[in-house]
Amino acid sequence: MKQNFLFQASNISKYYGQNIGCKNVSLDINPGEVLGIVGESGSGKSTLLNCIYGNLEVDEGDIFLNDKSKTILNFTKISEPKLRLIQRSDLAFVHQNPRDGLRMNISAGGNIGERLMAIGHRNYGEIREIAANWLEKVEIDVNRIDDKPSTFSGGMQQRLQIARNLVTRPRLIFMDEPTGGLDVSVQAKILDLLRNLVRELGIAAVIVTHDLAVVRLLADRIIVMQNGNVIEAGLCDQVLDDPQHKYSQLLVSSVLQV
């Protein structure tokens, strides 16, 4: 096992009864690296993401995280309180639908502040200042700090969700179709924002998407999935420019050109 890895999953399998969620998937992520997971609907992308985030229990395999204090934790072995603490501090999860990741009846400031309060911040002034800073970072007008996310546009909601997740400075962020359901110009803006934040803060990320343009823009490496199996993995440009597997070739060639 390499010593400087951030995150490692080895031989993950998840079954839904007779059906395969994902099978024998291994991946590792280095600090600050962005990994893209692509594949068609039903290929097991989201299952894999939920497994490695710790939301779904895996049937086989191990998941290791090299935490802030350089201790290697095995997700499949640690206790639930510990796992939830890690999920709040070291990890973050951005849902495709911002409604799943935000509290819609709580103000934008409260949404960003929740993770801070969850790890023990008890100073209102401080929490509010940090929340305002983050709104600025994700290009939301600071005047909207007391507005509820339900009054925000889809793109703003997604940016708010990103701010809410990044506020505790996680080291690894999981994103499930972060730009799905948004129109193209808003998508571009969010991708731009994500790219800057990820690079600036040195956060590693796992991005699940069916949109190859997204991984082209953000990812360093990608894995291609089909029917729960990884069929191809490698450097992003390498896989996208010279796909080896039949399915990868199909995937790359079916992108619409304008």
């Binding site: 309180p81 400031g109 929740e114 100073n123 209102y124």
Partner: protein, 292 residues
């Protein structure tokens, strides 16, 4: 007269002592013991149908029923008052079914059932205070999933509770929550103090009396044992403040007891009187003694 007492005796024979049957009381006592062992933890119990609707204090009544012994002296208050409908009916209920002595004097009572107030007179050891609780889960309106709130309690994940206070300050400039103000019991479980005004919160801390909470519809019992640390949640820069209307009682003149606001005329003239009727009476007596 003779006829009446005969009937009353009959009532007592029809009902078991304090209405509930012995096995039910035993079940409730087990829940109470568990609740006292784990301060602030909500213990499920199999709440019974009571001969009155939910919302009338069926949880408190069941707890009282399980705790009562024949030599108890019972006091029942509703919003601090001994003479309101709810208090009168519950008091009568236990007079009829348990034939216990009743009092309005806080210091004389061995068991006090209360709705929405803690008496102003300081409670003593060997007194039991039974609260009627509508919603025992302090996180209910923040996280609707009971499975999730239970987990949050188990793992002490109370960030969300602070989000509520944060929202208060963001909206109103101060913590607006004035009743059912969340408390942390024994440094562990965040607990709903029932809808008492936050003015009463400090009285819960380190109280010599046993504090029991019963939620009938929600089928939960929890407790704060005597001399337990109870802390109201707050922010470093927005500390908890016990507040009340800044007036004097227009009957007894007390300025340190919790006041009710009463509109006394059609043109909206207001008057403030103690919500604790027993305390108000005591103060009035003291005042007239001083004048003598």
């Amino acid at each position: 007269m003779n006829e009446m007492s005969k009937n009353e005796n009959l009532d007592i024979q029809i009902y078991n002592f304090a209405y509930l049957d012995e096995n039910t009381k035993r079940m409730i006592r087990r829940a109470l013991l568990k609740a006292l062992c784990i301060p602030g933890y909500q213990v499920p119990f199999s709440s019974r149908e009571m001969p009155m609707p939910y919302g009338w204090g069926t949880g408190g009544i069941q707890v009282t029923s399980a705790c009562l012994i024949p030599k108890d002296i019972l006091k029942v208050i509703d919003q601090g008052a001994d003479d309101t409908t709810n208090a009168v009916s519950i008091r009568k209920f236990f007079q009829k079914t348990a034939n216990v002595a009743v009092t309005e004097k806080t210091s004389d009572a061995s068991l006090i059932q209360t709705r929405h107030r803690i008496p102003e007179t300081k409670l003593k050891e060997k007194q039991i205070l039974v609260y009627q609780v509508p919603i025992p889960e302090p996180l209910r309106f923040l996280e609707p999933r009971e499975t999730e709130t239970r987990k949050m309690h188990a793992l002490s994940e109370y960030g969300l509770m602070y989000v509520k206070l944060y929202e208060d300050i963001a909206k109103h400039g101060h913590i607006e929550t004035a009743y059912a103000y969340p408390i942390k019991t024994n440094g562990n479980y965040v607990t709903d103090p029932s809808p008492i005004p936050k003015f009463d919160n400090p009285k819960m801390n380190n109280s010599p009396a046993i504090q029991l909470f019963g939620a009938g519809r929600e089928q939960r019992i929890y407790a704060i044992p005597p001399y337990t640390n109870v802390k109201s949640l707050d922010f470093e820069d927005y500390p908890f403040e016990a507040m009340k209307a800044n007036f004097k009682c227009s009957i007894c003149g007390s300025s340190d007891s919790y006041l009710d606001e009463i509109i006394v005329s059609d043109d909206g003239k207001r008057s403030y009187i103690c919500s604790d009727t027993d305390y108000c009476k005591e103060q009035t007596k003291l005042n007239s003694k001083k004048e003598d």
